[in-house]
Symmetry: C2
Subunit: 418 residues, 2 copies
């Protein structure tokens, strides 16, 4: 009898074989596949929407919560956005084959680096059908093969999208196994996927903290993981009050539920006079302030913050607040409590800006800009497979480059080592 493990081994083997072809595929072939996929998605919009409607109906019957239902649901506009996303990835520069740092060494050899695909990428995500197309596109353009595992509620939608993806690959003469969608909803499939180092080179989990922690625990291959975003805005001694207010309000209130939303406000004692106005503006937007004793003395209605508050990613209309002695204390506080996602300083001091940039150990560190900018599109990557809070390999927003590696190349003319 065929077990889930055998099934996954089959996908793994096919993906590994396809990855060899993908690594040497021309940019034109990859772009043609992406454009053909977009075309297939538009041509099959009706089937996609029907498959999705069946998924949504079943999910509703099973009592899926509204926010997840919303993410599961595809509209005609959503289908068009998916197709456009594929076309946008086709328009991005191909990272594969780029040669850099080629330098002649004293022995006569030329030594440099060539950017190459990682090989096979496993992507595990929630019931969001659009991720199926996005993730397929990014893996394909970066010359990798992909094995995709979306949330079980979206199985029919993902299978319908996979048909279009395969049609695109086929039209461009690329192996259809370059993108495979796992067709079982058995959770054992995930366990198998993350423990096949012979077939899978890296896992990218996209979803809640629980999913990511479980996968990191089980994985026997590297994981590009995105844990929480407990982001800080620090108002330094010399902060310009206009910039401070503008950046803080955007960082905290533009969207409450994103990972790059500010969750903690630090104010230098010398800038504490700015705190009442900042707090008032937040409170006017319905944001609850939880602060230290000094905060409470300065801000009417501020609640008391516990130690736990400073570690918390609220994803809600709450912000923790602390008055600190200076930039040194702010940096130390951030390096202790931050989740190392994104932290910003508001300052007119060049010295403090440079110190903050260097010493804050987070994946994005900002001066006089909103933490909300921490995003692959805003950084000019053109696309984003996730935001890594790790230090190893890819850090911060991960675009096509994060799905590649650099190998060394040596060009000689018969040189030998002496």
């Amino acid at each position: 009898m065929n077990t889930v493990k055998d099934y996954m081994e089959g996908l793994g083997k096919a993906a590994r074989a396809a990855s060899r072809d993908m690594a040497k595929a021309s940019t034109a072939a990859k772009n043609n596949a992406l454009l053909a996929m977009a075309q297939a998605i538009r041509a099959n919009a009706e089937q996609l929407l029907a498959a999705n409607a069946a998924d949504v109906a079943e999910a509703k019957a099973n009592g899926l919560e509204p926010a997840m239902l919303d993410r599961l649901t595809l509209t005609a506009k959503g289908v068009e956005t998916m197709a456009q996303g594929l076309e946008q990835v086709a328009a991005l520069a191909d990272p594969v084959g780029e040669i850099t740092d080629l330098k002649r060494q004293p022995t006569g050899i030329q030594v440099g680096k060539m950017r190459v695909p990682l090989g096979v990428v496993g992507i595990i995500y929630e019931a969001r059908p659009n991720v199926t197309a996005d993730a397929a596109a990014l893996c394909l353009k970066s010359g990798n093969a992909a094995i995709l595992r979306g949330g079980k509620e979206a199985l029919r939608s993902n299978q319908a999208i996979a048909v279009c993806v395969r049609a695109g690959l086929k039209a461009a003469g690329l192996p259809e196994a370059a993108v495979q969608v796992i067709e079982t909803t058995d959770r054992a499939a995930v366990g198998a996927l993350v423990a096949m180092p012979q077939y899978v080179d890296v896992i990218v989990p996209r979803g809640g903290k629980g999913l990511i922690e479980r996968i990191s625990q089980e994985a026997r291959v590297p994981v590009i993981k995105h844990l929480d975003g407990n982001c800080h805005v620090y108002i330094d001694d010399s902060a310009d009050p206009v910039k401070a207010l503008k950046v803080l309000m955007n960082a905290k209130t533009q969207r409450l539920g994103t990972c790059n939303t500010a969750e903690s406000l630090l104010v230098s004692r010398k800038a504490a006079a700015q705190l009442p106005a900042l707090a008032q503006a937040l409170q006017a937007k319905g944001v609850e302030i939880r602060g230290c004793a000094e905060t409470q003395a300065l801000v009417a209605g501020a609640k008391s913050a516990t130690e736990e508050d400073y570690y918390t990613e609220y994803l809600a209309a709450i912000i923790s607040c602390k008055v600190v002695a200076d930039a040194s204390e702010a940096i130390a506080h951030i390096n202790k409590y931050s989740s190392a996602h994104t932290d910003a300083i508001i300052t007119e001091s060049h010295a403090n800006a440079m110190r903050f940039l260097r010493e804050v150990d987070s994946s994005s560190v900002m001066v006089n800009a909103s933490t909300r900018f921490a995003d692959g599109f805003e950084y000019g990557l053109g696309a984003e497979i996730g935001i890594s809070t790790d230090k190893f390999h890819a850090r911060g927003p991960v675009g096509l480059e994060g799905l590649t590696s650099q190998k060394w190349i040596v060009l000689g003319n018969g040189e030998v080592r002496g």
Copy 2:
């Protein structure tokens, strides 16, 4: 009672705290520390040699094998080499703080990357005292804190070197906990070291395959690992016979026991006329040929190669050999049997050279050059902490850069996200 785990937690906490200071240490302070260490090593040469003599005496009494005894033994010249190694690392460029790719985005923010230390590096190695100084130097220069665990036979030597390292750190005003040598020989210390993600950011094992596999299995943090070197030389259709002979002989016979030594020879059928002369030259140097049927027909005295031979890193005067149809078969063979360390093509064809460079999935890929060049010094890195056969993060020879990460920096003037 103090357990090994408590002891290791203590080292981890101290290292994490020291890593914050190291990350912001000036280049001058780091270089001063390295130069002061070199001075301390020279000044304490007598004590170092005495400690080493005690280690060697005990190892001899315990029947340590000659090759390992050789690596354990320090001479006056070895001590001087160690001091010079520290001075060489002082002379290297500081990778920390380098800002690259700073570009203005449409929103007005400038986005770029800053190179920063990884944090705390754990290094596990065999009984080779010189590695203690080398590893300390590389971690220090790259702004990391280090926890070092050398083979138990070298404990006294390593402790004596650690005294000099600490003296150097102190003289430069850097925290002494920036480099800590584990002072227990309990093997549980290694298990603890590789499973403290809160204190240790990366593990670099240096040693045999067994050690590295065990550590990779147990590790709960990233490992920069170097497994075997089953390196290939492929003689292409159009190979220049002079270059082919020169490169092959160097790759196979310059040193038999190194990871970048060639272990397998592939010859294109169109170049098979070169094989007898190549084989004869190898045999004249005492190298045994194990080949396919075609090899055996062309080479007197060639033995038959098994499937297992093509996977084997001999580290001995043996080479496997196979006649292949063309570059395509050579590339497919290498991607199946190679350990992805270093593989070379000998060719006068530009097209085949470019294909080989792109399609061979190894950490170093070479054209008309000896595999023996795969080395941090030969690549111009100035120093090497190891050679990674992984694709993730660092690949191939790992120098100071491999001990750093790049974070994103954003420079704004009050910009917010729209």
